[in-house]
Amino acid sequence: MVALGGTGEQGLGAAMKPDERAERRRKAADRLMEFRDLGPIDCDLHPPTPRMAELLPYLDPHWREVMLSRGIDGLELASYPPGSPLSARPEWRGPGGRPGGDLALIQREVLDRWGTRRAILNCLHGSMAMFSEDMGAALARAVNDWIANEWLDRDARFAASILVPARSPELAVAEIERRAEDARFVQVLLLAGSELPLGRRVHWPIYAAAERFSLPVGIHAGSAFHQPMTSVGWPSYVVEDYVSQATAFQHQLLSLIGEGVFTKFPRLKVVLIESGVTWLPGFLWRANKEWRALRPEVPWVDRSPIEIVREHVRLTLQPLDSPPDASGLAAVIGQLGSDDLLLFSSDYPHWQWDGEEVLPKALPEALRSRIALDNPRQTYPRLGVRLGKECVS
């Protein structure tokens, strides 16, 4: 019986004969070729977090003076300490160990390696976590403009998410409206560890703007830490925080459903980024049961949570908290009950997996192209990715 976990420590290759190992390598190379040929869309790629010196040119004179005069810097999010193993694979660090390195490294390690058609940059910057609404807005503007000039302009394969000061929906909407003119911005980015539950009506102007511009709302792992990462208090360890991110996504998804966000914004898509994925089936079974009992409290939830999620929610693939065996992974993917939900992501430079095989080999064959290309294309209309047949018709 395959039970709760598996150590992954047995060293799968150790017991194999040399010819088996060669065969395995050949198959892996074939899979990689097939994957490259698809021209995948990478829905979660992290550029290095800009330091203040890099942002100064993108700040107006007032805010530039504030940053210099007060010595403000070091706004990497605490959910991702730069030195932490999870924050970057060893070969995906730049000088000084900086997670993500630079453009050349990303082009070589991600875009060229997998034949990436488009890649969505999610810049994990502390502007999302500022207590001051105004400073948060100024920094979000600067980061978005830095992304546009330093990344989007330099490689046409890049797209990006819009950072917003979530504490002020009004200023967040202003920033969405400012950047949405540029079609290379394809998503609005929020943190799973928000100040208020993301379904709450106070956030709705953000969703209205996102829907208006066909921007999915991406909820990314990480916390503004205006609250503890868990409802049982502040964890001691980075790994404990990170493990608990999966629970944060459950809370946020429940909030979006319960508050009726998808009733109010029927065209809105929400992408859960770096969520771990495999918690979803169990969550939905419980949520369905709960809805049957407590529906009258939230009568606008007029369909089961399972139906709502299938229509409105997508999840990026990495990290995939998978069972230790291939059949287990197939089972849990089957429990998702839809082929539309998963979006390919490398989660570069986070150290979620090793080697070259970014799509777990145990993924069912029929799903590979859906995840790599079709689902991302349908989720992000602003990417404007058309395939051969559609160009003809």
């Binding site: 976990g5 420590e9 100040e195 868990t230 208090g233 404990e240 771990g276 230790p324």
Partner: protein, 367 residues
């Protein structure tokens, strides 16, 4: 058959003798505790009442789905709130479902969550004496859990040492939402006492620690709060594992109560995966987290998740291990599970015996 569609398989637990790990006894009124409280604390209760980290005097922060959060058919005909009348509990539940052993969980009132810590400790003592005098002594099928003022480990240990020798206690009662994650060292004396006395640690969903119910703040609806409360089991278990509690207390037996169990495999996979990457941060955790969970943690079943495809429930339990589940009803609360109807899955005789009786006998060291 046309008409009614019966959405279940019936679990044939008849004649088995079910062990139910979660039955909630209630006070007939707060005054029912007076015989067990010193004068000073009777005055406190009468004058200031119960004070937890909640906004209201006489309600939960999130008003519940039903009065007294109970089944509507559980109000005793002789008066008093659901769960307060032993004779009625016997007739309605213990006898008709052939309960061999029922383990009491005194959720309300909570001594642990009192803002006046000395009063909280006195309340715990009184609740423990009340459980023995009014429940386990008159009804040998019932066993009790020692409720402790967990935020004060020293007082908790004193209460465990005072109560454990009384024999009818099989567990120590804690809730998920302590003021710090439960794995933190400040709570370790309680775990040491559990190991020393051989009592299981029963951690029940709930508690009011004053922290927001989610990492994104307070939700709006009971629809959210009820589930969010159960989600707390996940960071709780992560804390116990990653702080090294199971490494330090290898004989500790932990039962997680009223969190359901569908979340457990995904959490274990996630813990194993990230533990492997982050081992330098937690060198005291020498084994993969799932190793400790399979060795020392049991999951009480209620509320049983209900996947649309029943086969998924079997896959889920296969992942967790049939030896890790213990049945719980949550009687008389509204979200209870019926011993014969909760599992929408045909179980083999061996599976039934394991989940409904034998696993709990092991977890709680029942005779």
């Amino acid at each position: 058959m046309s008409g009614a569609v019966l959405e279940r398989s019936r679990t044939d637990a008849a004649g088995l003798g079910v062990v139910d790990c979660d039955i909630h006894p209630m006070l007939r009124s707060e005054r029912a505790l007076f015989p067990y409280l010193a004068r000073r604390w009777r005055d406190e209760l009468e004058t200031f009442g119960l004070r937890t980290r909640n906004p209201f005097v006489g309600s939960f922060a999130f008003p519940k789905a039903t009065p007294a959060l109970s089944r509507r058919d559980c109000w005793p005909p002789a008066g008093g709130p659901p769960g307060s009348d032993l004779a009625f509990m016997r007739a309605q539940y213990l006898d008709s479902y052939e309960i061999e052993t029922g383990i009491l969980q005194t959720l309300i009132p909570s001594g642990k969550d009192q803002r006046n810590p000395a009063f909280g400790a006195a309340l715990c003592r009184a609740l423990n004496d009340w459980q023995i005098a009014e429940w386990t002594e008159p009804e040998p099928r019932l066993k009790a859990a020692i409720t402790v003022p967990a935020e004060d480990a020293e007082a908790s240990v004193a209460e465990i040492e005072r109560s454990a020798p009384k024999g009818d206690f099989v567990s120590i009662f804690l809730t998920t939402r302590t003021t710090e994650p439960l794995g933190r060292k400040r709570y370790w004396p309680i775990f040491a006492a559990a190991e020393r006395t051989g009592l299981a640690l029963g951690i029940h969903t709930g508690g009011s620690n004053g922290l927001p119910m989610t990492p994104g703040g307070w939700p709006s609806f009971y629809f959210e709060e009820h589930m969010a409360n159960a989600f707390a089991m996940q960071p709780l278990l992560a804390s116990l594992v990653l702080e090294g509690v199971f490494e330090a207390f290898p004989k500790l037996r932990v039962v997680l109560i009223e969190g359901g169990f569908a979340w457990a495999p995904a959490l274990a996979w996630r813990l194993d995966k990230h533990w492997a990457r982050m081992r330098p941060e937690v060198p005291h955790v020498r084994h993969p987290p799932s190793f400790y969970i399979r060795r020392q943690v049991w999951f009480a079943t209620q509320p049983v998740e209900e996947p649309p495809d029943r086969a998924d429930l079997r896959t889920l339990i296969d992942w967790i291990g049939w030896e890790r589940l213990v049945f719980a009803s949550d009687y008389p609360h509204w979200d209870m599970d019926d011993p014969q109807r909760a599992f929408k899955l045909a179980l083999s005789e061996g599976e039934t015996q394991a989940v409904f009786r034998d696993n709990a006998r092991l977890a709680y060291r029942l005779p």
